[in-house]
């Protein structure tokens, strides 16, 4: 669907108003550069970071960490989710541990992760893994459980072998819910990488934030925050698109 001109006008109005007010404060001389820089200062910093290559390096470093942690979280969440939805005994076996671990925010694992793995890659990937695992696990299990049992009865009538049911009924039936889990998981993973990098890292977007603070450079901090927001939105947009391409039958 093509959006109309007036839609884009409304869509962009708020960010433009915010920028205008911000700029207005600067012209009135109310901004102090060491707490709140002017919009143009941030543009300058951005250009600097593009020129010296730090912008791209930080984004790719963070993104690769997310990819690793999310990949492991997806595989584990998907597998454990399907197993616990299909086998009540497996669910009973894992339920208590999962329910107790679930409310612990991944960030609360950072101290332990650093003690276990040091401040290298592993500790960050581990935190991201935790962030991605739970939403994917929960939504996969929920999705499989919500499949109508009448489809399994149908499969019985046509003597469809059990292993085939996984591909033909379980996964497609749960796919909408799994995709919701994946979107939440990617969102969480991105939050986790920033948090983990703020505490101990020498690169990445999260490191940009803590670096900017210790250098008293709010422009760097704000640039880092904008990157987190923009990259997060782009990733979610891509996942929405994949969802649409993948689930064509609804």
């Amino acid at each position: 669907m093509k959006k109309s001109f007036s839609y884009w006008l409304i869509y962009l109005a708020l960010p433009i108003i915010v920028l205008a007010v911000w700029e207005g404060f600067d012209i009135a001389g109310r901004l102090k550069p060491y707490t709140m820089p002017a919009p143009m200062a941030i543009v300058d910093t951005t250009l600097d970071y593009i020129k010296n290559g730090k912008l791209w390096t930080n984004i790719t470093v963070s993104f690769l960490r997310v990819l690793k942690g999310f990949g492991v979280g997806l595989a584990a969440g998907f597998l454990v989710g399907i197993l616990s939805a299909l086998f009540p005994k497996f669910e009973a076996f894992t339920d208590l541990v999962i329910q107790i671990l679930r409310p612990i925010p991944p960030i609360a694992w950072i101290p332990l992760a650093i003690l276990w793995f040091g401040i290298g890659e592993e500790s960050k990937v581990f935190i991201i893994f935790l962030g991605a695992f739970f939403p994917i696990f929960l939504n996969t299990a929920e999705g499989v459980k919500s499949i109508d049992s009448k489809y399994f009865e149908l499969a019985q009538v046509y003597e469809v072998p059990k292993p085939m049911l996984i591909w033909q009924i379980v996964i497609p039936g749960a796919l909408p819910s799994i995709m919701t889990g994946i979107r939440l998981g990617v969102g969480n993973a991105w939050v986790c990488v920033v948090a983990a990098e703020m505490i101990g890292a020498v690169s990445g977007v999260g490191h940009m934030l803590s670096d900017g603070r210790s250098l008293s450079r709010p422009d760097i901090v704000i640039l880092g925050m904008l990157i987190v927001g923009i990259v997060g939105k782009i990733m979610d947009d891509i996942l929405k698109l994949i969802h649409k391409k993948l689930i064509t039958w609804i």
């Binding site: 046509y158 497609p172 796919l175 609804i250």
Partner: protein, 255 residues
């Protein structure tokens, strides 16, 4: 012809913590190969349960049930079952829904799929998803899916219950045509006396609590069958009387 179904003194009780429901009591029923049988009765009289027993979906009962002279362990392709809902998998196209039901060695048999879609008048809808079909079309795909498996017997549980009168009559004609051409034994469960009399060469009348067979009536409407005229009216009136003698209320309210 030989009997394809022999049921003797069959009882089925559903037990739960709170209560017991005798869904079927002392059912005796034999069905000849190649016949068309209607089962009719008010809601809750055990029609679906009886059909599920015949289809092998319900195996926990007392008494004897032989399909083709052998006991039944469970559902199978040769006992095609059409559920009240079409039960197509929403994520598969029409042709893949049929493919899903086929045995391994026939999964690639596109001609078989095409043939059966043609039989129910749905050529050209191979690539459609179930959501793109009307209720009647979806039910026809379900029928094509069952037929593609070359069943000995086709069991239909109120297959046209949710459809409008015109679509319903069209599908009844199609079922009769398929019955003539494919020579499959058919058993249809219905609420509708007209449907029961029009389709069934034999009409089995059931009554509830406990679910029993009250009467088995032969119907001969000649070939081809006609929805109007004396034989149809007479047969229908007789079935009507079965229900009115019980209670002075129409079947729809006989709950």
């Amino acid at each position: 012809m030989a009997n394809i179904i022999e049921i003797k003194k069959l009882n089925k009780v559903f037990r739960s913590k709170e209560n017991e429901v005798q869904a079927l009591e002392n059912i005796d029923l034999t069905i000849e190969e190649g016949s068309f049988v209607s089962i009719i009765g008010g809601s809750g009289c055990g029609k679906s349960t009886l059909l599920r027993v015949i289809g092998g979906l319900e195996t926990d009962y007392e008494g004897e049930y032989l399909f083709d002279n052998a006991p039944v362990k469970g559902p199978s392709r040769d006992k095609g079952f059409i559920f009240q809902d079409h039960r197509l998998l929403p994520w598969l196209t029409v042709e893949n829904n049929i493919r899903f039901s086929l045995p391994k060695e026939k999964k690639k048999d596109d001609a078989l799929i095409r043939e059966n879609l043609e039989l129910v008048g749905l050529t050209g809808f191979e690539k459609s998803y179930p959501r793109q079909l009307s209720g009647g079309m979806a039910q026809r795909v379900a029928i094509a899916r069952a037929l593609a498996n070359k069943p000995r017997i086709l069991l239909l549980d109120e297959p046209f219950g949710a459809l409008d009168a015109i679509t319903r009559m069209n599908l009844q004609e199609q079922m009769l045509k398929i019955w003539h051409e494919e020579k499959i034994t058919m058993i249809i469960v219905t609420h509708d006396i007209d449907e029961a009399v029009y389709l069934g060469g034999t009409v089995v009348v059931m009554t509830p609590r406990p679910g029993r067979i009250k009467r088995i009536q032969k119907v001969d409407l000649g070939t081809p069958r006609r929805r109007t005229g004396t034989p149809f009216t007479l047969a229908r009136d007789e079935i009507y009387r079965e229900f009115f003698s019980d209670a002075e209320i129409p079947i729809e309210y006989n709950i």
